[in-house]
């Protein structure tokens, strides 16, 4: 019986099914912990740095909102988190997470915006799996590529210099740089589209 094809299929199928069950259980248990940790250890320090000296009235981590981005090509629901900082009852700064497909997987970026003068306050890589020494340099906050976003005007979006934009790539890591810039650009589009309506609330 062990050599019958249906038996092989059943054994492999049952093993894979149980494995999937176990994994979804573990994923369900760990996801909230991992999200909380990213919020506390990665997003909070970055936002504190970007919004430093602004004396915001609210705690933008506490007041975060979930932004519905519709569905992706495979029909899965896409969401992101929007952080808004208020001063004098008016939303003055915003930050949000976006991602784009890089060389080795998704690059997740946090972009902070100053809304009055339409400037990017700073960008921070939250996760990436790019090539060590090349694309992985997006993780280094001191990298000129990352630094150049600070103070950049985003009213026309951001794009690579080769595409008529204002961003210089990391040499040797074009794919990662393009993806990173695309993620930041996506954030600017989302902020332009969503933040005014959020300010009215």
């Amino acid at each position: 019986m062990r050599n019958k094809i249906w038996f092989m299929a059943v054994v492999l199928g049952v093993v894979a099914f149980l494995a999937g069950l176990a994994l979804s259980g573990v994923k369900g248990m760990t996801t909230p912990i991992i999200e909380k940790r990213i919020l506390e250890q990665k997003i909070k320090p970055s936002l504190d740095k970007f919004f430093d000296g602004l004396d915001l009235e609210n705690d933008c981590i506490e007041d975060r909102q979930v932004l519905d981005l519709g569905k992706d090509a495979r029909g899965r629901k896409q969401v992101t988190t929007l952080f808004l900082g208020k001063k004098g009852g008016k939303t003055v700064v915003a930050a949000l997470q976006t991602k784009a497909a890089g060389f080795g997987g998704d690059i997740e970026v946090l972009t902070a915006f100053s809304l009055d003068d339409k400037k990017i306050l700073g960008v921070k890589t939250l996760s990436q799996s790019e090539t060590m020494g090349l694309g992985a340099r997006v993780s280094n906050d001191a990298e000129p590529f990352i630094q150049q976003f600070g103070g950049m005007n985003y009213s026309d979006g951001v794009a690579m210099r080769s595409n008529g934009g204002q961003v210089d790539a990391i040499s040797g890591a074009t794919v990662s740089s393009v993806a990173f810039t695309a993620a930041v650009n996506r954030a600017t589009v989302l902020v332009e589209k969503n933040v005014d309506s959020a300010a009215a609330n």
Binding site: N3, V11, V26, T30
Partner: protein, 213 residues
């Protein structure tokens, strides 16, 4: 037939993975830049090895021989993903140090090697001890290699960065980061591994000769 104690202890010296089986060299060379990286990788691998050995030996009479490798990989990959998620949740700094090498445990040949060579032919108890022994041997080897490289490379020993348990053994001057940078670079890993292989061979040759005499 080996005794149960022997099944456990063989992994600690006789068949210690990176030096004797010379398996699993990729993580051995890559993550041993620090003591923490060494023991962290070792323990993660031990967990996967013990769990996969238990499951594979328990199912060894059910799994059809023709799809055994596929089944083994599914079981191993499941435990690797569990390890990855749990480490991300509870030991975030260690998980960041080890990075992509945690998911790569799936393709660590020690694990598939033990599944194929041992767990698929032996009972659950023996397989558990075999996995534990080989896993702890791997941990020991990686920790020693990591400690050696980190100490010579930076003069420090990171026990567990998350709990701030770092020791400065050799204090360096202000603004100096490395003692002997070669040791924490990839080529240093090869040299260290070679030196330890030499040392182990010398010791076992000596003990074999003294036994013969």
């Amino acid at each position: 037939m080996k005794t149960l104690t022997q099944e456990f202890t063989k992994g600690l010296w006789e068949q210690i993975p990176p030096f004797r089986l010379v398996l699993g060299l990729c993580p051995t060379l890559a993550v041993t830049k620090s003591l923490e990286g060494g023991w962290g990788m070792g323990l993660a691998t031990t967990f996967v090895l013990v769990c996969s050995n238990i499951f594979i030996s328990a199912l060894r009479n059910v799994i059809p021989p023709k799809v055994r490798i596929a089944t083994f990989i599914v079981i191993i990959a499941t435990f690797v993903v569990i390890t990855e998620l749990v480490m991300k949740a509870y030991t975030p700094m260690l998980s960041e140090t080890l990075g992509v090498f945690i998911p790569l445990i799936v393709v660590n040949c020690i694990i598939l090697g033990r599944a194929e060579a041992f767990a698929s032919k032996n009972g659950v108890g023996r397989s558990l001890l075999d996995g534990l022994g080989i896993g702890l041997g791997f941990t020991l080897a990686l920790a020693v290699l990591g400690a050696l490289r980190e100490l010579l490379g930076t003069g420090k020993l990171t026990m567990f960065a998350q709990a701030n348990l770092d020791l400065t053994i050799i204090p360096l001057g202000e603004g100096r980061e490395f003692l002997f940078k070669f040791m924490v670079d990839p080529p240093g890993a090869f040299v260290c591994l070679g030196a330890m292989l030499l040392l182990m061979n010398l010791i076992s040759e000596r003990s074999a000769r003294s036994k013969a005499a």
